[in-house]
């Protein structure tokens, strides 16, 4: 923003609404540049001042101009007209100019060409005072100006509508504008103007009748349709209309001569001009193609719930009051509007439309009303079932639409940070029939938002059908499933965090019952992932890609106690742990190191809490968890550090092997073959390290890495970004004393 503005003429001090006389506006202009603009811009400033004087002269000329001055013969008129035009098109006119110029243009004093030119120049720098508009409308009544000037004025008024500072008095003229509807030429423009002016209270039965008479006379006219549909919006109990689907615009483009100038001026005075908003009729929505009338995949447009009738005598007052209070959703465009009107908003007549309206989703987040969710539940449940492309036979041609719909539902769930129960039911019903291919990303994403509320049936409804697909599908599918289950776990844990925070201590009892249910559900999910991961690694022959997704899952699991305050820790099964430990890839190994470090931190914290007994612990980790962790840590340290894995690993599925057997492998130095130098995932680093440390040595003597060099090598590894290894070694390997250090070295040798 800043550089672009510099290249343009100095920013103008735009008059405030409170400044009403021209001199104040000038003063404001003059003083501002001295404060803010560097001195080398002063020539520019002087130029501005001179144009300012010229504009003042022109205005005072037009104020006093007499009847019928010919343009051709009068050089003064020519000059002032040119001044007004050039200033208007360059930076817009000040509010005070409008009164004078509108008066002269509509008074019929000057020739039509002059009036036209003046009107075309009426581009505001900031706002247009309402009073000047009102007085020019009154001039319109006197009939002094020609038809074409009147038309041009109306078009100007429509274009500039948003620039008028207040509109109360203009609203009072509603009836006057309405009366001009009869004029055939003006009718389209008057309709447009009325469209802009119409409020709830403007809609009266006699006006509706007038419009319907007019409709009977002129037939289908888009401008009439637009106005009538707005009337319908405010008073559906009086009039109704069905708009044709293909209609694109309801009003002819009336901002022609001013559009470019407004854009140019706005670019210069960016902050101060109101944003021109395109007119949107909320009552129609383009549809891609004709479908069944009860097809629900087309998300309805947000339109205000007008299902309150105002006819019956006694109820009338109550309802009228409420109706005037409520804010029509069709007008809700911005977040500030939402904040201003949040107390008088109503949900749309069809709840499904909130899905595509982020503002309404914000609103929904604030309002905790059961009926909102119930309406959404029914609509979404029916739509998902009816439109599902793999459950309903004839739907396959609508797959793209269904994909979009699932996508929208997923985005809404992310926005609201909660899953819909209708989605959950849909998944349970449709997953057994799913081929694992149709709408795959969308379906798997929806899985990640299955709510935590129900504690049973997950196995038969979700895990069993998912496992079947998982084992029979591609590597990529497996990774996608793991990813969505990881997200599911994360969402559950987040939910738990939020809800355990909000619940008070008095509800401790009910919390405990839910907590045990929650722990069971989370544990079930983790065991399921552990199981399918083990099988998948076997099936796919341990690819790094798959391992990455599996370890990514365990990065959440290992931290549940500390990060999510959940009294549950489950270690990965051996079928996951050992493939990661013996992986060919340093990334997996590093990830494993990090995970084991986090397990340690969580277990240590749990133990400390248990010992200090600050809280009465309902849940504590079983000794089996600690034992399992210790087995893994022995295996890991034995592998990576002390080169004793083959002897010390006590895990039943571990690396323990007899010496005889190891000798048969004919591998020399088998003991050290998985330490941080010889490990297949690390050997590349060791090689590069050797090259740097002994540039001249070409024998690649890995045994040189010991003693002080061992420490250097570690520093080298850390510097290569093996952060997981670093925290693991620093936490799990006792290197504090030199003694243990040398012991490690001894083991090394």
């Amino acid at each position: 923003m800043q550089p672009r503005r510099r290249s343009e003429p100095p920013k103008e001090q735009v008059p405030q609404k409170t400044q009403t006389d021209l001199s104040a506006w000038r003063k404001g202009r003059k003083s501002a540049p001295e404060k803010s603009i560097p001195s080398h811009w002063s020539p520019n400033r002087q130029k501005n001042d001179s144009t300012q004087d010229a504009l003042e002269d022109a205005l005072s000329y037009f104020e006093k101009v007499q009847d019928r001055v010919s343009l051709k013969k009068n050089s003064a008129l020519q000059k002032h007209l040119a001044t007004v035009e050039s200033i208007a098109l360059q930076r817009g006119l000040p509010p005070e100019a409008f009164d004078v110029l509108l008066k002269v243009a509509l008074s019929g004093k000057l020739a039509d060409t002059v009036n036209t030119q003046l009107l075309k120049s009426l581009v505001p720098a900031s706002v247009i005072p309402e009073t000047s508009v009102v007085s020019s409308v009154s001039l319109l009544c006197t009939g002094k100006c020609s038809d074409s000037t009147q038309l041009l004025f109306l078009r100007w008024l429509i274009t500039m509508f948003d620039f008028i500072d207040r509109k109360e008095q203009l609203h009072a003229l509603y009836g006057f504008f309405f009366s001009i509807l009869q004029d055939e030429k003006m009718c389209p423009y008057i309709c447009h103007l009325l469209y802009l002016l119409t409020r709830k209270e403007s809609v009266k039965p006699f006006r509706i009748r007038k419009l319907l008479d007019l409709q009977a006379k002129v037939g289908l006219q888009s401008h009439l349709q637009a106005l009538l549909s707005l009337y319908k919006l405010f008073s559906p109990e009086l009039v109704t209309i069905a708009l044709p689907r293909k209609m694109k615009s309801y009003f002819k483009n009336s901002d022609g001569p001013w559009k470019a100038a407004i854009i140019a001026v706005r670019r210069r005075n960016q902050e101060n001009t109101p944003v021109l908003q395109p007119l949107v009729l909320g009552t129609t929505q383009p549809q891609s193609r004709k479908r069944k009338w009860n097809a629900q995949v087309i998300i309805p447009a947000s339109s205000t719930n007008r299902n309150t009738l105002e006819e019956d005598g006694e109820k009338k007052h109550v309802n009228l009051y409420r109706m005037n209070e409520s804010f029509p959703l069709e007008h809700l465009q911005t977040f500030p509007q939402l904040l201003r009107n949040i107390h008088r908003l109503e949900f749309p007549s069809q709840m499904g439309s909130v899905l595509t309206n982020p503002l309404l989703l914000h609103y929904m987040n604030c309002i905790k009303d059961e009926s909102i969710y119930l309406r959404l539940y029914y609509w979404m449940g029916q739509t998902l079932q009816e439109e599902c492309t793999w459950c309903v036979a004839d739907n396959s041609q609508y797959e793209e639409e269904f994909k979009d719909f699932l996508e929208t539902v997923y985005k809404t769930e992310c926005f609201l940070q909660e899953g819909f129960s209708s989605c959950e039911e849909f998944l349970y019903k449709s997953l057994p029939l799913w081929d694992g291919f149709c709408c795959r990303p969308q379906v798997l994403r929806l899985v990640s938002w299955i709510p935590l509320s129900s504690f049973s049936e997950m196995k038969s409804h979700l895990y069993d059908p998912l496992a079947q697909l998982f084992f029979t599908s591609s590597l990529y599918f497996k990774c996608s499933v793991l990813q969505s289950l990881r997200e599911l776990l994360q969402n559950w844990l987040n939910w738990h965090m939020i809800h355990s925070d909000s619940e008070s201590d008095t509800q401790a009892h009910s919390l405990n019952t839910t907590l045990s249910g929650l722990v069971n559900m989370v544990a079930e999910l983790i065991h399921f992932v552990g199981w399918i991961s083990t099988v998948a690694l076997r099936l796919e022959n341990n690819p790094t890609f798959l391992l990455y997704f599996i370890l990514d899952f365990y990065e959440i699991v290992c931290d549940m106690y500390l990060r999510y305050n959940l009294p549950l820790l489950i270690l990965p099964p051996a079928g996951v742990f050992y493939p990661a430990l013996l992986s060919m890839d340093s990334v997996s190994l590093d990830q494993l190191c990090y995970i084991m470090y986090r397990y340690r931190s969580n277990l240590v914290a749990a133990k400390e809490n248990e010992l200090s007994k600050k809280k009465i612990l309902q849940f504590k980790f079983s000794s089996q968890t600690y034992q399992e962790y210790n087995q893994y840590i022995v295996a890991m340290v034995g592998c990576l550090w002390t080169s004793s894995a083959f002897q010390k690993d006590t895990h039943p599925q571990g690396l323990r092997m007899g010496d005889e057997l190891l000798k048969k492998t004919a591998v020399q130095e088998f003991k050290s073959s998985f330490n941080i130098v010889y490990h297949p995932a690390m050997m590349g680093y060791a090689l590069l390290f050797l090259k740097q440390a002994w540039p001249d040595d070409t024998t690649f003597n890995f045994s040189l890495i010991k003693g002080k060099k061992w420490n250097w090598y570690l520093e080298y590894l850390y510097a290569q970004g093996l952060k997981g290894l670093k925290v693991f070694i620093e936490s799990s390997i006792n290197r504090v004393s030199q003694a243990s250090h040398s012991k490690a070295q001894n083991a090394q040798e």
């Binding site: 409709q215 009039v239 109704t240 009738l309 059961e370 009926s371 119930l374 609509w379 009816e386």
Partner: protein
């Protein structure tokens, strides 16, 4: 059932009704039925002449009546049924012209009260919607209800399992005059051309078979239904060497009612109207939950 006035519900008999399930109507009030009629009639007029605005409340070619039928329900906790009728009147002689019924739709709930348990008063539970008349009117009326009461309509198909239940149940019903045969229509799948097999049984024979199958009167189990159908299938196989169990049951006609798998029903006995509607209500509820 006893308090059901047969005259108030007679309009349902001997006509074909297309079945829909409807989710609960939001903010539907029985006190506003006349206003709903006015709005709906203007809406239909506006939809038929797209783009032209229509004043609400004026006399139009099509008259809409929305009425409540308190007799048509199962228990006291069911909502009263709502009947929507469209009738045309000719412009030529508006005063003494006869109104001709062109379309009717009926929202009802018969013993579906467990659906409305512990839910808010803003909703009206009438899960079953029966329609007789042109699809074009169904779509306009349906659209208006969807927009106004935030509900969803779905065609209610009847699967073969439920059809066989109907066959068994209705066969066992006592009907004063045994008029029509029990007819089952089967469709043969996987053929290049459509082939339907119609299997008609004398109603007394069918009833005799059912009576031997049913163990406790007034109670039916899935097992009994299966046995009943298997007997019919094996009888058919003995004669024609066709295994009907490999085909799809698509239609059941009895003296009580006839039902097609596409979700079309015809009520024939006012005595058993409530019972049939109860079964259909149950199917509708299972579709919206």
């Amino acid at each position: 059932q006893e308090n059901t006035d047969p005259h108030r519900t007679a309009f349902l008999l001997r006509k074909q009704w297309t079945l829909y399930s409807v989710t609960p109507l939001y903010k539907f009030y029985n006190s506003n039925l006349r206003d709903y009629a006015r709005l709906l009639s203007a809406f239909i007029a506006a939809e038929k002449q797209k783009g032209l605005a229509v004043e609400v409340g004026v006399e139009l070619d099509l008259k809409v009546a929305v009425s409540s039928i308190p007799d048509l329900k199962g228990s006291d906790r069911d909502e009263a049924a709502i009947l929507v009728q469209l009738s045309s009147r000719s412009r030529a002689s508006p005063k003494n012209s006869e109104e001709k019924l062109v379309w009717s739709g009926c929202f009802c709930c018969v013993f579906g009260d467990h659906l409305s348990e512990n839910v808010s008063d803003d909703f009206t539970y009438l899960p079953l919607f029966l329609v007789n008349g042109a699809e074009s009117y169904t779509s306009i009326v349906g659209m208006w209800f969807q927009k106004t009461f935030d509900c969803c309509f779905r065609r209610l198909a009847i699967n073969p399992l439920n059809l066989s239940w109907m066959a068994a149940m209705w066969t066992g019903c006592k009907v004063d005059k045994t008029t029509s045969a029990v007819e089952l229509v089967f469709s043969v799948p996987c053929l290049p051309y459509p082939l339907d097999i119609s299997y008609a049984i004398h109603p007394e024979d069918a009833k005799a078979l059912w009576d031997t199958v049913q163990k406790t009167p007034g109670e039916i189990t899935q097992e009994e239904v299966d046995v009943f159908m298997d007997c019919l299938y094996s009888h058919f196989h003995r004669h024609f060497k066709i295994r009907l169990s490999a085909t799809k049951l698509v239609k059941v006609s009895t003296a009580v009612a006839s039902a097609h798998s596409d979700g079309i029903i015809k009520f024939l006995q006012s005595k058993y109207l409530t019972g049939v509607l109860m079964l259909l209500t149950e199917l509708a509820i299972s579709q919206i939950q």
